[in-house]
Point group: C2
Chain length 406, copies 2
């Protein structure tokens, strides 16, 4: 075992809730986040929901001296919302957009427009290669009747696969972000089981902050208490996960969360609590089982559970695709009929018009709108069906391989 | 150096041109392809443009005995079109969809609907880990005025980055597919320069087939000669590329292409020629520079050339986004005006109607269609702008790192 002193690393993770025109006291909070990052001098800050590039630029300007390296990931209509500030050089970046991300017609949630993704940054610190992943999975708006669960499970699977396939050259893997899943949820068990990532909250030598590491708490003045109703004390959905590879051992010395307000201030940084982990990395013997997952009955069970969830949504998506297809066909038929009637009256055939001209053209308007919308939805659900089928097949294949190599 | 005999591998690659209802004698050709794969017993067959899953299932049924392992990649509305047949177990698969893939309004080409992607398969052959990539990049419809060039360059860059980030655990990297680029094109230089992949045609000890390895030739009865006009002898756009990593050396013993007709038949397999490479893989000393690219002035030049192309398209996409935004606003304004007029006449205000009711409702119909279409295009171009910006930034960062590590 190496006798070098371990490398200590302080990582800050926060869902900043910085939506222009919608999030409360956004500018003041962005200013506060910038001040704290600047004063505390973390090694890495992983931020989500910085939706506006202007906010990123403001932060960047303030933090250039302390964090000379930064990156903003661009994707989707609104963007990914991720940015990272680092004291160490960022060597390369790569972005993977999740194939499924909610429904375009759920305008009130808007997830589909966000281009949810996972960003990879390769950072070299004291000769150690860190693969740092930052992500934000689909929100959970209603736990009892969670329409987004299958998509979130697909995202968790794609995240796990993306990490497994892109981290072979890493010494240390770090994942920070708002996973929108409780610690025992299927998606978290799938992600952790498949990748072998460790939970900094569960493994920390010292912990300070909200009870059970909650990152959405009623003490936060921006929290909508109704959303926390089934969990009056709070929930934990923001994580810093890690693992050491190739003879590197990572340990979580301490984990801290904010507790409703930013330290020394009257308001919080965000509607989420910040998570700050102090990790130590040292060269050691090959950590057993740390390079990947351990295939046990739990992992087999959770992959099968995920497959069941995906299959159930697949069936529903097929029904929605077909019903939109039928609706589009009907609207097209109606338009064709009206065009034929219009044409016949133009060429002077003496056919009686069944509707007055005004109603007839209103009907055309309606049919056109229905046609365009249902065609769009038909395309959307066709893609959804394919991606669900592909994911289910990939899960089956990958599990089969894991089992055969046991 | 190891004295084990080298592993010999025969790889078949073909763009099958199997579009239901559109491609000529499709069923007969799929049958022929199945027969040949079955008789020849290749180790790996990488097929593109098998758009219909039924065709894949037909092939799978025929080939189960000879190729017990196969995979069909699902993506997009129509699918990716990729399938792979293998004599050796496929351990895992992963799909990366390119962020840009043509324009939704170019219905005559339909590329946008195809979900172009790169598929990764991890295959273990005699203890050697192969990362096999199969892809199909955006077509080139008009070389002189190629509207798709910037998107194809982005795809080539994403392909190169995907290979680099996911191949660290591989012993051998293999890429097969229709890249829709001539050997000297910017995208190919970028891909090969960045990944260090070798061209089986250029490196083959023996070559047999069409002049200069062309895979689109006038002798093929399905070739539209007009499309080949600037290149009357043919073009080479289908490739098998490879490299050895981690003490494995790969050599191309021979490369064969079909020459307009399938051997012993009166018609070809497809409108593309098939490419068949015989590779030998042996353990050896660490191949210098084979694990990645060599940063030379050529690579710097080609990355900068690609950045220029991306920036030029970025400017055009910004203009298109803005003009669609203006169009949508105008249509919305018109609709609001009409609604206000309709409302005022309903509540009985004595305002004179400027248009007869029929024309007015026709105008509403038009405004609604324009609003929906221009909103859709606004969203599309907004995503395009973000992805182009992100790619340009990523190219700059990655190049900077390569240069600093020289």
């Amino acid at each position: 075992m190496d006798t070098d002193p371990p490398l200590q690393l302080r990582v800050f993770d926060l869902n900043c809730w910085a939506i222009r025109y919608l999030s409360k006291v956004r500018q003041e909070r962005i200013g506060m986040i910038g001040d704290t990052l600047s004063q505390e001098g973390f090694d890495l800050a992983l931020l989500q929901e910085v939706w506006s590039e202007r906010d990123y630029c403001e932060l960047k300007q303030k933090l250039t001296a302390c964090y000379p390296y930064s990156h903003y990931f661009k994707s989707g209509v609104i963007g990914s919302g991720f940015c990272v500030f680092s004291r160490y050089p960022i060597l390369d970046t790569f972005l993977y957009q999740y194939s499924l991300n909610g429904y375009p017609y759920m305008l009130q949630h808007g997830d589909w427009f966000c281009g949810k993704a996972v960003g990879l940054l390769i950072i070299k610190i004291c000769g150690i290669i860190f693969h740092v992943y930052v992500t934000h999975l689909l929100a959970e708006y209603c736990r009892d009747k969670d329409a987004y669960l299958p998509h979130r499970v697909v995202q968790a699977w794609e995240l796990a696969q993306f990490i497994q396939h892109t981290s072979k050259g890493a010494d240390v893997v770090l994942l920070g972000g708002d996973l929108n899943m409780h610690p025992g949820d299927m998606g978290i068990r799938l992600l952790r089981g498949w990748t072998g990532l460790r939970d900094s909250f569960a493994d920390a030598d010292r912990f300070e902050g909200c009870e059970d590491g909650y990152t959405l708490v009623p003490a936060n003045c921006f929290t909508v208490n109704k959303e926390l109703q089934p969990f009056p004390l709070g929930i934990r959905i923001d994580y810093i996960l890690y693992k050491g590879l190739s003879r590197f051992v990572v340990k979580c010395d301490s984990l801290v969360t904010t507790t409703g307000t930013a330290p020394g201030k009257s308001i919080p940084y965000s509607d989420h609590e910040a998570v700050i982990a102090t990790l130590s990395v040292r060269r050691g013997e090959e950590a057993k089982g740390s390079s990947g997952s351990n295939v046990g009955p739990e992992l087999v069970d959770v992959v099968n559970e995920a497959r069941t969830e995906v299959r159930a949504r697949l069936h529903a998506a097929e029904c929605q695709r077909d019903s939109n297809g039928r609706m589009a066909s009907l609207a097209l038929l109606l338009l064709l009929l009206q065009a034929a009637m219009g044409l016949s009256s133009l060429v002077g055939w003496d056919t009686p018009q069944p509707f007055p001209k005004f109603s007839s053209s209103l009907l055309s308007l309606l049919a056109t709108v229905v046609l365009l919308l249902s065609m769009g939805l038909y395309i959307f659900h066709t893609i959804e069906v394919r991606m669900l089928q592909g994911t289910e097949e990939q899960m089956r294949l990958a599990l089969q391989d894991k089992l055969s190599s046991m």
